[in-house]
Each structure stands twice: as structure tokens, then as C-alpha cells.
């Protein structure tokens, strides 16, 4: 079994939408990162990381979340490992409360990717959604979200304990 993997999703060119990417970048250089844990700066397509997720003890996915929460609020969803066609039925959802619609013209959302990956990568996944105030073209985070970065990193590290 391979060590835990953290995948930070997002596009760093799109401001706060890139929060997962920024978290992964910071986490990779954080001395508190447990020995053996691995970190990947992902893009916006979780399916692309299927290979890296295989045979992991656990995978933590960090992504931006559009909701009414305070910027930087971390919400979590647990998706148990295991396979089976029933896990992919639309009525099945360990990720309750998240929008499962196909609202993307040529790739899949992280939610849809996680549900599909059960067919090939039956590892436990923790999804951490970080509330963001906006998503627009800029290279850095908004000041209000940047200010929450230490607390967000603490939260991700807690998941790895």
C-alpha cells in the first residue's frame, strides 16, 4: 500500500479558484508534512491523476467550493474505498450536498470523477472543499483567502495525522 496522497486541484491563473493548487504548493514545502506523504499540484481534471491514486492508503483532494460560506471555510466529505456498479448509480452519493450535475462542456467535475474512479481506483478519498469568494482571471489569491491559508494548511495537515 502506498502512502497518503494530497491532490490540490485548481487553476492558478484563475484567482481563488486555484486555492487547491496553492495549498498543494505550500504543503509540499511544509516541514510538518508527515514523512512519506506525497503532494501533487493538480490541474482541474482529477481523472488525470488516476494513476497516482492507485493503491493509496488514502487520497485527500483539495478543491475550491462555491457556496455561501466564509472565505477559507473548509468543508469535508468522506468517500469510502471499494468498488461495485451500485456505487456508481446516480442515487448513490457519499458526497451529499454537492452539485453532481454535468455543468462542464468537456471535462468532468471532481465529484463526477470520484464517482467514476470507483470503477478503477477503489481507494478512500477525503474531499476538502474550501469556500472561495470569487473566481476570475488573476495569478494570486484574494487577500481575504490568502489570510486564511495558515488555517487551511493546519486543517489539511490534521487530515494527514
Amino acid at each position: 500500500m502506498k502512502p497518503p496522497l494530497v491532490i490540490g486541484l485548481g487553476n492558478p491563473l484563475m484567482g481563488d479558484e486555484g486555492i487547491g493548487w496553492h495549498v498543494a504548493e505550500r504543503l509540499a514545502g511544509d516541514p510538518r508534512l508527515p514523512a512519506g506523504a506525497e503532494v501533487v499540484c493538480g490541474g482541474t481534471d482529477l481523472l488525470r491523476h488516476a494513476d497516482q491514486m492507485e493503491q493509496r492508503r488514502r487520497v485527500i483532494v483539495v478543491d475550491a467550493l462555491r457556496d455561501d460560506g466564509e472565505p477559507g471555510t473548509v468543508s469535508s466529505w468522506e468517500y469510502p474505498g471499494g468498488t461495485g456498479a451500485t456505487a456508481c448509480q446516480p442515487s448513490y452519493s457519499q458526497l451529499s450536498g454537492l452539485d453532481n450535475r454535468q455543468d462542464n462542456a468537456h471535462c468532468l467535475s471532481a465529484i463526477q470523477a470520484i464517482q467514476l474512479l470507483r470503477l478503477t481506483v477503489p481507494v478512500p478519498i477525503t474531499l476538502l472543499g474550501i469556500s472561495i469568494p470569487c473566481a476570475s482571471l488573476q495569478t494570486g489569491l484574494s487577500p481575504e483567502l490568502a489570510a486564511r491559508m495558515p488555517a487551511i494548511l493546519d486543517r489539511v495537515l490534521t487530515e494527514l495525522e
Binding site: L13, T44, A85, L98
Partner: protein, 430 residues
């Protein structure tokens, strides 16, 4: 007056998808709304040194990060008159093939097939037909493996650099890729079998102008500096440096993407255009597959782009195998990148991203810093053509109810494999 509004293709901040106004039997305005980040990227690279440009612009898109990286490098190298080695050319073409396999597999199996079989999503499809989805995931994984092995990581490749390649793959890695591609041959054949069983999507016909890279080898996504436009039997060639005479862009109020037209007609780019411009690729197994798909070229049905992608899937796997054989025969070796001497100059590159022509054009100052940049993506090039085909779809539809029209419009939009959503990808609460 009635109005069909599809915001299903929407991405962020309420930017919509398709809006069609209908007055009786007459179709009024037709809008394809695009929030296209690439058009707004120039400020992000202005003033940047030439070796910083590709890593930034590769992040325009997660699916097409290879295409943006390599097109950016090609434009920079054209500006500085750098000629890379034959080995670098082959490695870059192989990277392109990996991206195309991955992108086409995702599009065909996870987005298009559910449309044809009346499933709301790939997740729903996987419950009834897991083998179909698994086939698509295997092909997507193959494309990812090529990109990771050659590009140096799963996304936003680090090995391609100005003047060459950072680290060439080891012989053992190429042999491993070859084994995976041999399985991919069977899988791409199975994909073709599946495509021949799909119900026809025969609801939009009209003459279309196709534009694609005219590759010197007749089969390249990367090499070449000429675009051929094909329309109604006539052919025109445009050099990369004259790309503005191909695009003739103009702004429209409902979209962040400018529209393009060649000789006052919208152009369609992508797989169907590539096969139309380079029909001599379709020999042997591909010719048989084309016949099985009942694909006529030039086509008058934009839905045929899905068939063209299935053909390219087979071709990409075979071409990737050929390139690996070439590299193994020649003996892959570590090569230092060709030295780059910056100068004040403009360089333009045109390549074939999975969904069509991709144009990067940069003007550098004498220190090798960007003074001006222009990036034109396939979806922006296709926008006017999409609106034309949306209009024809509504005009030619016997069914006039919103549900039927909406489904057809979305299928036409998806056939273009548009890239309107890749820059932003947030989770949303219900």
C-alpha cells in the same frame, strides 16, 4: 416570440451557454456565449522572459496543457530562429498524440456516448454499461501515461523547454509505453466498434468551411506552418505569419471570445477539419473504419466530428507506436537544448490541439521579454461556426418543442468538444 436558453454549458458568474430566439417558424438571434480566458491572458505574460512564457500559458487549460506548452515554445523558437533537433520534434509529436488520445477518449466516452444513448452523464452510463466507461478510462489513462512519461509529469509538462527537451525518456520507459500502446490498439479498435453502433445524429446539415494545419508529413499535430481552408471543393493556404487573414476576428457583445471568419464564412476546426484537409491519412485500417462509420468528406454534418475523433483515436495510437519505434531505432539520447539567442522579433506558431487549430503569436523585445502576445484557441475559432450550426439545427428540426431542440443543440455543441469550461472548475453546493 419564444426563446430557448441553455445555461447547461455555463461556467462561472452566470455566463450562459446557448440562446436561440424563435418567432413562429423563423429563427431570430442565435448566441453562443463564451467566457474564454485565453483572450484575456496577454497581461499575464507581458514583460515575462521567454523561458517563463510556456509554463504560464500551459495553465490556460488542464486538458490542453501540452498543446499550449508546445505551441508557446514553437512561437518563441520561431521568433528567435531556433531549430530544434529531429529527436525533439519526435518527442513533441509524441506528447501531442498522448494529449489527443486522452482528450478524445474523455470526450467520446464520458461526454458524447452518454448523449447518444440518452444518459444524463457518464456516471449514469457506468451503472448500466460499465464496460463502455472502463474502455474510455483505459484509453484516457494511456494518453495520460504518454504525457507523464514524455512530459515529465501528469499535467503541465516540464520536460519541453525552449530549444529542446530537459530530460529524454529512457529506453526502458519507451519500451513500457510501447507495451501499453499495443493494448491501446485493441482498445481503439473497440472504440470504433462502439461508434458504429451509435444511433445516427442526423439533424444538422449545411456547407461548412474547414481549416486545419497542413502538415508536411500529412500526419502531424505539431510540425508545419501552413493552414489549409477547404470549402466546397476549393482550397486556400494561409501561412502562420499571416494568421490574421485566416481569423479576421471581430468582437461580439454576447461573448468574451471574438468570432472568426475566412472570406466572410465561419470556419470549423478540429478532428473533422483535420481529416478533410489531410484526407490521405485515411489509408488501410482507417479507410475501412471510415467506411464503417459512413463518413463522407467533406462532411456537411458537424456531428461527424465525433466520428472523426474516433478515427483519430486509432490513428493517434498507431502514430505514437511508430514514433516510439523511430526513437528506439535511432537510439534515444540526452541532448542539451539548442542555445537560444533572444532578439527583438515576432514569432507565430500554429498547431493542432485536440479540438482544433491553436495559435500563439508573440512579439519579443531585444532582451527576450514579451512585448505583445496573442493566443487564439480552437473554441474561439469555432464560435461563429457553432452559431451557424445551432441556427441550422433549429431551422431543420421537425420537432419544435423546447426539450427536443434543447437536446439537439447541446449535442451539436458537444460535437465541437468546446473548451469553455476548463479554466475554472469549482465544486458547488446543491
Amino acid at each position: 416570440m419564444s426563446k430557448i436558453v441553455i445555461d447547461h454549458l455555463a461556467r462561472v458568474e452566470g455566463h450562459g451557454g446557448i440562446t436561440v430566439e424563435i418567432e413562429g417558424d423563423t429563427v431570430g438571434s442565435v448566441h453562443f456565449d463564451v467566457f474564454e480566458g485565453a483572450r484575456l491572458l496577454e497581461p499575464l505574460v507581458r514583460g515575462k522572459h521567454y523561458d517563463e512564457v510556456a509554463p504560464v500559458l500551459s495553465r490556460i487549460c488542464s486538458i490542453c496543457s501540452v498543446a499550449h506548452t508546445l505551441t508557446s515554445l514553437k512561437a518563441t523558437e520561431n521568433a528567435f530562429a531556433v531549430r530544434v533537433s529531429p529527436q525533439t520534434d519526435l518527442l513533441r509529436e509524441l506528447l501531442f498524440r498522448g494529449e489527443s488520445i486522452e482528450s478524445h477518449a474523455l470526450h467520446l466516452f464520458l461526454l458524447t456516448v452518454p448523449d447518444y444513448l440518452n444518459y444524463p452523464s457518464a456516471i449514469a452510463l457506468s451503472a448500466d454499461k460499465p464496460a463502455v466507461v472502463l474502455l474510455g478510462l483505459r484509453l484516457k489513462k494511456l494518453g495520460n501515461l504518454i504525457q507523464e512519461t514524455i512530459g515529465g509529469r501528469a499535467i503541465h509538462p516540464v520536460n519541453p523547454v525552449p530549444g529542446g527537451f530537459g530530460k529524454a525518456p529512457a529506453i526502458e520507459q519507451l519500451i513500457e509505453l510501447r507495451s501499453a500502446l499495443m493494448q491501446g490498439v485493441a482498445d481503439s479498435d473497440a472504440a470504433m466498434d462502439l461508434m458504429t453502433t451509435l444511433p445516427p445524429a442526423d439533424f444538422c446539415h449545411c456547407d461548412t468551411v474547414y481549416a486545419a494545419l497542413r502538415s508536411p508529413s500529412l500526419d502531424s499535430y505539431y510540425a508545419g506552418d501552413e493552414v489549409m481552408a477547404v470549402s466546397d471543393g476549393s482550397r486556400a493556404i494561409v501561412h502562420a505569419n499571416d494568421y490574421k487573414t485566416l481569423t479576421n476576428e471581430w468582437a461580439v457583445p454576447h461573448s468574451h471570445a471574438k468570432h472568426s471568419a475566412f472570406r466572410e464564412k465561419p470556419i470549423m476546426v478540429g478532428s473533422l477539419a483535420r481529416l478533410t484537409v489531410n484526407p490521405r491519412r485515411l489509408t488501410g485500417k482507417l479507410a475501412v473504419a471510415k467506411k464503417r462509420l459512413k463518413l463522407q468528406l467533406p462532411a456537411d454534418n458537424p456531428m461527424d466530428n465525433n466520428k472523426a475523433q474516433a478515427l483519430e483515436l486509432i490513428n493517434d495510437v498507431e502514430r505514437a507506436l511508430e514514433i516510439i519505434e523511430q526513437l528506439l531505432r535511432a537510439g534515444i539520447k540526452g541532448e542539451p537544448p539548442v542555445p537560444v539567442q533572444p532578439r527583438a522579433a515576432t514569432g507565430t506558431a500554429i498547431t493542432e490541439a485536440p479540438r482544433g487549430l491553436l495559435i500563439h503569436s508573440y512579439t519579443y523585445d531585444e532582451e527576450g521579454r514579451i512585448a505583445a502576445a496573442d493566443v487564439i484557441t480552437p473554441t474561439a475559432l469555432n464560435a461563429a461556426s457553432m452559431e451557424m450550426h445551432f441556427r441550422k439545427t433549429v431551422e431543420q428540426s421537425a420537432e419544435r418543442d423546447d426539450a427536443s431542440l434543447s437536446r439537439k443543440l447541446q449535442m451539436v455543441a458537444r460535437a465541437y468538444d468546446p473548451c469553455i469550461s476548463c479554466s475554472v472548475h469549482v465544486l458547488r453546493r446543491r
